[in-house]
Amino acid sequence: MTALSVRGLEKSFGGLRVTREVNLEVAPGERRLIIGPNGAGKTTLFNLITGELRPDGGSILLFDRDLTRDTSRRRAHLGMSRTYQIITLFPRDTLLRNVTMSLLGLHRMRWNPLVRLDAQHQLIEQARSALDRVGLGHLAARPLSETSYGERRRVEIAMALAQNPKVLLLDEPFAGLSVEERREVQKLLADIPRDVTIVMIEHDMDVALGFAERISVMHFGEVIVEGTRAEVVANPRTREIYLGE
């Protein structure tokens, strides 16, 4: 059984083919890295996997369940969670409320107009522990607008982890972070238990290569090389296209 299986995925924007027959098999618990130059179609692939874009062809399976036609929200309920390359949070709310919103998304209570959200102590405690997990528990009551970029990145990860996903898709989680912040996020990702499968897009080779077990290299919407770190780095096509040699 694979955790995530992408088969022959096709997507075009007008005359531009942004993914071409993309195939991806990610084993349960695996740490997969997707690399490629800008415009290679990595984020589009994530958007197709999470259902934010509809593919023109091909299929997507989560633990052998075909969810190609399922909506984005359905995929979240089935155990797929993601972070965004451009941070997408609730700017008017506190960190705690941001994570609470993430938990509420999978909770039946989200439809309830007759109780106070602040009085849902169990949900709020869960949100608080998700913030503790990413080292932001002490900032729970701080409005998001008063936090640093690095803290927001960690809030994104806390929101994704709070949903207890089976498959976690991280879109450039190290982008824009300082060296210190990168180290913190790196440790945070290393601590994620093995029952969560992680697929990550990243440009920072220093941190990403250390994290990944298998790597897929994308170029012009195609996966051109796939293998272990050593195999990918040794492949002349990777060096030619991505590493600039």
Binding site: A76, M101, P113, R116, L117
Partner: protein, 328 residues
């Protein structure tokens, strides 16, 4: 709830309950009644505009549907209770149809579709003469008498409206603090993220439209009982724009803002217009001043100003010497 907030609520309640005694005459009691009716209407709009980020220019149409439903059903010989129930059902059903069509879009698209639907209802009120009596409108001969209480006097009707307003305000306060209220605000701020988090964005907006339609229906019913008359004028585009103005002027996405906005517009229309012929110009000038000086609206703007004033009056915070190497 903080002590200050509790005191403020009790003070506001005392002022509202005592209004017929301290206001100078029946005319002003009627103005207060109008303010409360329009405040309910504005709260319904605020639910969509302030909390849902959806600007509707068709709400006067829904307001009119409720009013006409009461007038038509009463004219057919039904009782007040049946007329009110039917008006609520018909208006919420119309809102559902509106929402099904207009929620295919957001932003300007939503605004334009609601504008068109509102205009269709206005056109029906004008042209469906056999039902609406066209330009002449419809009269109703009596007000209901709940528990045998006669509501024909200005004060009695004011108290009835105040009770309904209190219930609506409490329901709104509960709604916006609820998980569903938080979900609605989430769809306003980050619809894409909400979808990825597992929320049904369209359904949340649809339910919000229904609740907004319900509040609008309540306002429409009170309006027709207040005036004992309804005409197509109540459904006009200007009426929809006016309620949007109330919400934006008072503070969208707040509970008190629409109430303050409704008071501002109703007082300008009914009181200031008695002294100043060009009251519309005055209202426009006030609105421009609000947009420039307090773009978030009167209520949040005043809160911001009060915080700034408190901080300024308190003076600079004294610097505390800190140990450069704590722990040593």
């Amino acid at each position: 709830m903080s002590r200050a907030r509790l005191v403020a609520i009790l003070a506001a309640l005392a002022i509202l309950i005592a209004a017929p005694y301290w206001l100078p005459g029946t005319y002003y009691v009627n103005i207060a009644t109008q303010i409360l009716i329009y405040a309910i209407f504005a709260l319904g709009m605020d639910l969509l505009l302030g909390y849902g980020g959806l600007v509707s220019l068709g709400h006067a149409g829904l307001f009119g549907v409720a009013s006409y439903a009461i007038a038509v059903v009463l004219a057919a010989g039904w009782g007040h209770a049946a007329a009110i129930m039917l008006a609520l059902i018909v208006t919420v059903a119309t809102t559902a149809v509106f929402a099904l069509m207009s929620l295919r879009a957001t932003g300007i698209g939503f605004l334009m579709i609601t504008l068109a639907l509102g205009q269709i209802l206005w056109g029906l009120a004008y042209r469906w003469i056999s039902v609406t009596n066209g330009d002449n409108g419809l009269n109703i001969s009596s007000r209901p008498a709940p528990f045998g209480i006669d509501l024909n006097g200005a004060s009695a009707f004011y108290y009835a409206v105040l009770v309904v307003f209190g219930l609506v305000f409490a329901a709104m306060a509960l709604f916006v603090a609820s998980p569903f209220g938080a979900s609605l605000r989430g769809t306003r701020d980050q619809p894409r993220r909400m979808d990825a988090l597992g929320y049904h964005v369209w359904m949340i907006r649809f339910c919000a439209c229904l609740f907004s339609g319900l509040l609008t229906a309540i306002a429409g019913i009170l309006f027709v009982y207040y005036n004992q008359f309804i005409s197509p004028q109540a459904l006009a585009l200007t009426a929809s724009a006016e309620v949007v103005l109330m919400v934006i002027a008072g503070g969208a996405g707040t509970l008190l803002g629409p109430v303050v906005g409704a008071a501002l517009v109703v007082i300008m229309k009914n009181v200031v217009s008695a002294y100043i012929a060009r009251w519309n110009f005055m209202l426009g000038a006030i609105f421009v001043a609000i947009v420039i000086l307090m773009p978030e609206g009167l209520v949040p703007g005043t809160v911001r100003f009060a915080r700034w004033a408190r901080k300024t009056l308190a003076g600079p915070v004294p610097r505390v010497a800190t140990d450069p190497e704590p722990g040593r």
